[in-house]
């Protein structure tokens, strides 16, 4: 589904990603962990080219993301994204947020798009919030709308960039529940998060990053109980 080869990313003279190789298969849930500044969010944003990569290749569903001939807007409908700060459109209702993509990108007619939108809002438990503006939603509700917005394009993979980091602790659960359900339904997901419980429950694989490189990767149990690398150990010691 996603193939990353020898990816390098520089911000000016600072190298934030150093020779990353990563393959994500269809239906797989991959969790990326690591201290802040380790490059995990940047790596995620290189997959749908919100960041231009410096060198290497990123292939999503068979399309080379960095190739000028590739329609990047198409890639972005294939690889949806959920942001830490939700980034809902404040001037639109939740239904408006969810249907914008289907209407303008997928060129669906309004009735179809609204049916799809309501269906997805119901899926994330916000059936009765269709006509509410984002300002009147809690953080957890906002993030669930954002997930519905990403799902509306029927993407093949969803990229989650610290989806629960901006939430009050008591709201984290409702967002994770939606994500767990997606994982169980077979959605391919790449999730940057520090939620161990989530990783344990649904991740097929945990990747630990530090200073722009992948330090180690493996099934969650193995990484959490027998980390091979000292840096992984010290990081896990801090977050548990």
């Amino acid at each position: 589904m996603i193939e990353i080869r020898q990816l390098h990313k520089n911000f000016g003279s600072l190298e934030v990603l150093k020779n990353i190789d990563l393959t994500v298969s269809a239906g797989e849930v991959t969790v990326i962990m690591g201290p802040s500044g380790s490059g995990k969010s940047t790596l995620l944003r290189c997959i749908n080219r919100l960041e231009e990569i410096t060198s290497g290749t990123v292939i999503v569903d068979g399309y080379d993301v960095t190739d000028k001939a590739t329609d990047i807007n198409f890639i972005r409908t294939e690889a949806g994204m959920v942001f830490q700060q939700f980034n809902l459109f404040p001037h639109m209702t939740t239904l408006g947020n969810v249907t914008l993509g289907p209407l303008k990108v997928r060129k669906m007619n309004r009735k179809e798009a609204e049916n799809l939108g309501r269906e997805l809002l119901a899926k994330v438990g916000l059936k009765d919030k269709a006509d509410t503006y984002p300002d009147h939603l809690s953080g957890g509700q906002k993030q669930r709308v954002a997930i519905a917005r990403a799902l509306a394009l029927k993407p093949k993979v969803i990229l989650f960039d610290e989806p629960t980091s901006a939430l009050d602790p008591e709201l984290v659960g409702e967002v994770l529940d939606v994500m767990k359900q997606l994982g169980r339904e077979g959605m391919t997901m790449v999730v940057v998060t520090h939620e161990m419980g989530f990783a344990r429950e649904v991740a097929d694989r945990v990747i630990f990053m530090d200073e722009g490189v992948i330090i180690e990767e493996g099934p969650p149990e193995e990484i959490f109980t027998h980390p091979r690398h000292e840096r992984t150990r010290s990081f896990l010691g801090k977050v548990i």
């Binding site: 807007n73 942001f83 459109f89």
Partner: protein, 221 residues
């Protein structure tokens, strides 16, 4: 010791019909000038945030040269200077509208640029992440939010431009200030007539402020 001055209300009363013809022209020039300024300002404001450095510099050149020169000089240049170069006279009203349009356009451009840039980066990223093109993101996501923030500074610019039309006396456009001058030339009642002219400008600028206030409240969710 008296000045011999006696306020005559009848003078104001009698001037009103003539002054109103000036008001009409002032509104006409302001409206079309601002329409032109808005189109010009939106275009050049967006040019200023283009990713292409040449387009950015082009927009910047227009904004800087207009902001860096007095409106009076711009009016004179358009009315007296330009016809020599293009070989045809420009009617005073057209020159007036053009001058107000070009002048307000530069300030509106800065308003457009500022408000567009004030919308959080995450909004653009969210728009692009659902597959919208750069232009669609600007149109459906950024523009509606930026427009709301534009209203107070735009209102300010509308008021400034309306008052700026009084400078068009120098090219003989019969707007409000010019009509006032003409009445005074005939009756020498400067006190009453300028007072009446001032009140009429004040009513117009207050109306703009009020209308924008209403629009702003309507857009509040």
């Amino acid at each position: 010791m008296g000045t011999g001055f006696e306020f005559k209300f009848s003078v104001i009363w009698e001037s009103i019909p003539i002054l109103l013809t000036g008001v009409k022209l002032t509104i006409f020039i302001t409206a079309f000038g601002l329409l032109m300024g808005f189109l010009l300002g939106t275009t050049t404001g967006l040019m200023k945030i283009s990713r292409n450095p040449l387009i950015r510099r082009l927009g910047g050149f227009y904004i800087e040269s207009v902001r860096g020169t007095p409106l009076m000089v711009q009016v004179m240049f358009i009315y007296f200077g330009l016809p020599l170069a293009i070989g045809t006279r420009i009617p005073p009203i057209v020159a007036g509208i053009t001058a107000i349009g070009i002048n307000s356009g530069a300030y509106i451009a800065e308003i457009v640029r500022g408000t567009f840039q004030s919308i959080e980066r995450g909004q653009t990223e969210a728009g692009r992440s659902i597959g919208l093109t750069h232009f669609q993101t600007l149109y459906y996501v950024i523009w509606p939010q930026a427009f709301k923030r534009m209203i107070p500074p735009l209102g300010n610019q509308f008021i400034i431009s309306l008052k700026d039309t009084s400078l068009l006396v120098v090219v003989g456009v019969g707007e409000l200030t010019r009509t006032g001058q003409e009445i005074i030339a005939a009756n020498f009642r400067a006190f009453e007539v300028w007072l009446a002219v001032a009140v009429m400008y004040f009513i117009m600028t207050m109306s703009i402020a009020k209308v924008l206030n209403i629009i702003e409240r309507r857009l509040e969710i």
